[in-house]
């Protein structure tokens, strides 16, 4: 009998027993779906981690001012440290080799007003190099430039969240906003950013969408800290020429800062790239676990196929006997049953792919957990399910073919 004929016989068999075929498929469907969904969760976690660190700059070292209570602050200042300062930034740039750019930022939390609306916001005074070092994307307008900086202009760039609170759907460009008691002109709007939902190293989590950027020079002239003991700047970001120099350069920076702060530990050094590598290592075991669970569910699906196929062979003994009596060879019976198993796994695989893709989409939709489906995971799951189907379909098929025609035709 021809191959094409075999397929037709097998498909007839499946269609004539829709419910049984569906039950057989269930294991494969869920196996494939879970492989795809789990791999997509793993991949999603990886991608959002990378995105998070990209925001901080993979070639950057971040030196962050430590937060102290008033008493602690007095204690530290008594030990001669002035906290993080523009001078620190200057020294790092001049002394440490391998440093490409240095940007300082000063921060202040205050209210911003426009017409009758007001918002709580973090005002960040920055140097123009900032945009070259960090992953900054503008929705509209332009970022703080050299000219704004040099001329101490009262201009600002709004975070997407602030812009929405103050202006709703109006265009804020060229409008004035009142920061603290100063009027600033809006020159740009940031693109909306994913929230920092977790702490990165010693950087606290925060919502970057409520930031407002102003030139650091303007900031220094126009705003005063409520506590004179507070550090001059809150963060110094250092860009290193190449990422494999990160550790080396960070050691040098630590040395310089230690001297300038008289061994006071009033700052922390964060290397996003190192944290990313570390996090990836930690995630490996988690990914392995996800993969193992998925593989086990596929295996169970395969065993399900074998079970139902074995039961089917028993149930269909008469049919096998009839076919053998009218001239079917062992190989004909064998290929009929193997083809059925393959057809079941392919159909189940396709349904599983659809289910898996919709599952991972709805995970993102419902729970905010990032998922990302990579094409290889679809092929992997599908290919594995077909393999499982063929291997677990083989034994029942062999049993079916080896039934003696006289016995099977009298089987009731």
């Amino acid at each position: 009998m021809q191959f094409e004929e075999n397929i037709r016989v097998a498909l007839r068999g499946l269609i004539d027993h829709k419910f049984r075929s569906f039950l057989t498929m269930l294991g494969i469907i869920f196996g494939v779906a879970s492989v795809i969904a789990m791999l997509s969760i793993g991949e999603g976690a990886k991608r959002s981690a990378i995105a998070k660190y990209q925001d901080l700059g993979v070639n950057n070292i971040i030196v962050r001012d430590k937060q102290f209570s008033d008493e602690e602050l007095e204690e530290v200042r008594a030990k001669f440290s002035q906290g993080l300062s523009l001078n620190d930034a200057q020294v790092i740039k001049e002394v440490v080799p391998g440093v490409l750019r240095v940007a300082s930022q000063a921060e202040l939390s205050t209210d911003v007003k426009q017409a009758d609306k007001s918002a709580r916001s973090t005002i960040i005074g920055i140097t123009p190099d900032y945009i070259k070092m960090l992953n900054i994307e503008l929705e509209k307008g332009s970022f703080i430039n050299e000219d704004h900086y040099k001329r101490n202009l009262k201009v600002c760039v709004l975070g997407a969240g602030v812009s929405k609170t103050l202006f709703q759907h109006k265009n804020p460009l060229g409008k004035l906003v009142k920061i603290d008691d100063q009027w600033f002109e809006v020159v740009g709007i940031m693109k909306s950013k994913a929230l920092f939902t977790e702490t990165v190293g010693e950087l606290a989590s925060r919502d970057m969408n409520t930031d407002i950027y102003v030139p650091l020079t303007t900031y220094m002239n126009r705003f005063t800290q409520e506590n004179a003991l507070l550090s001059e700047v809150q963060q110094i970001t250092i860009q290193v020429a190449s990422s494999d120099k990160l550790m080396e350069v960070s050691e040098l920076i630590k040395g310089v800062l230690q001297r300038h702060h008289f061994n006071n530990d009033d700052y922390s050094v964060v290397i996003p790239f190192e944290l990313l590598k570390q996090e990836e290592k930690e995630r490996q075991i988690y990914n392995f676990l996800l993969g193992a669970i998925a593989a086990i569910s596929l295996l169970v699906g395969g065993i399900g196929i074998m079970n139902i196929m074995l039961a089917t062979v028993m149930e269909r003994t008469r049919e096998i006997g009839i076919r053998r009596a009218i001239g079917a060879r062992k190989t004909d019976i064998m290929s009929q049953f193997v083809t059925e198993a393959v057809a079941i796994s392919i159909t189940g695989g396709i349904i599983g792919v659809i289910l898996g893709v919709s599952l991972s989409l709805s995970i993102t939709w419902i729970t905010d957990v990032d998922t990302y489906i990579r094409l290889y995971s679809v092929f992997l799951a599908f290919g594995f399910s077909v393999l499982v189907g063929v291997s677990f379909g083989y034994l029942p098929a062999k049993n079916a073919a080896n039934l003696k025609p006289i016995d099977s035709i009298r089987y009731e």
Binding site: M1, I326, G327
Partner: protein, 240 residues
């Protein structure tokens, strides 16, 4: 000679006891004969039928079908023999329940590797021969017992086999329907088919032209039936 059996033995092992199902069988059947094989249950007539139908092979002795020694054939060749030379008709019809009459009749041709179009044509012709051209798309559950047996006969005829092997073909039917089936066999015999009928009913055996009695695994008697009696029986049924 169509069938020639020489000194054939068949032994079974059942629960470690050797059972001699057939002993020293010698038998010859010519082209276009109509033979009834009779015997009580356990006599070995089913075993003989299985061997005649190439479903089983003898322990000893020779079974020549069209001068081919069947006892030496491998499984695939036996399948091919069943496919091309033997048309089975069973007591319980043995049709595939979920398939149409047409599909059931086409099936032997499918395993013979015959193309779809020719297959369909020949299956329709076979169904027409048994008077079922109106029922080709019906499933067995939608047919009466007699109609089911006709489908089974059409399936047996479709590959133009050397013999029709009917095992108690009327056993599951009422007398009237059974007689109709026997008339159909009579017609097929007149058209040139060789028919072997296995039965334990004398009434049914009387339709054949030769009766072989089997008892305790041996041929007890082998006599031609009286042609006058056979004809009387047939014409009585036809005129009714």
């Amino acid at each position: 000679m169509l069938i020639e059996i020489k000194n054939l033995y068949k032994n079974y092992r059942m629960d470690n006891v050797e059972v001699e199902a057939l002993k020293a069988i010698n038998l010859q059947i010519k082209q276009n004969e109509y033979v009834a094989i009779m015997g009580p249950s356990g006599s070995g007539k089913s075993t003989l039928m299985n061997i005649l139908g190439c479903l089983d092979t003898p322990t000893e002795g020779q079974y020549l079908f069209k001068n081919v020694d069947v006892s030496t054939l491998d499984d695939d060749s036996l399948s091919a023999m069943r496919n091309k030379e033997i048309g089975f008709v069973f007591q319980n019809f043995n049709l595939l329940p979920r398939m149409s009459s047409l599909y059931n009749v086409e099936m032997p041709l499918m395993y013979a590797g015959i193309h779809k179009i020719e297959r369909r044509e020949r299956a329709l012709k076979a169904l027409d021969r048994v008077g079922l051209s109106e029922r080709v798309d019906h499933k067995p559950s939608e047919l009466s017992g007699g109609q089911r047996q006709r489908v089974a006969i059409a399936r047996a005829l479709v590959s133009n086999p050397g013999i029709l092997l009917a095992d108690e073909p009327t056993g599951a039917l009422d007398t009237k329907t059974g007689d109709e089936i026997m008339l159909l066999f009579n017609k097929l015999h007149q058209e040139g088919n060789t028919i072997i009928l296995i039965t334990h009913e004398q009434e049914i055996a009387n339709f054949a032209h030769r009766t072989i009695h089997i008892r305790d695994g041996m041929i007890h008697s082998d006599n031609p039936n009286d042609p006058i009696l056979v004809n009387q029986k047939i014409s009585a049924l036809v005129s009714r």
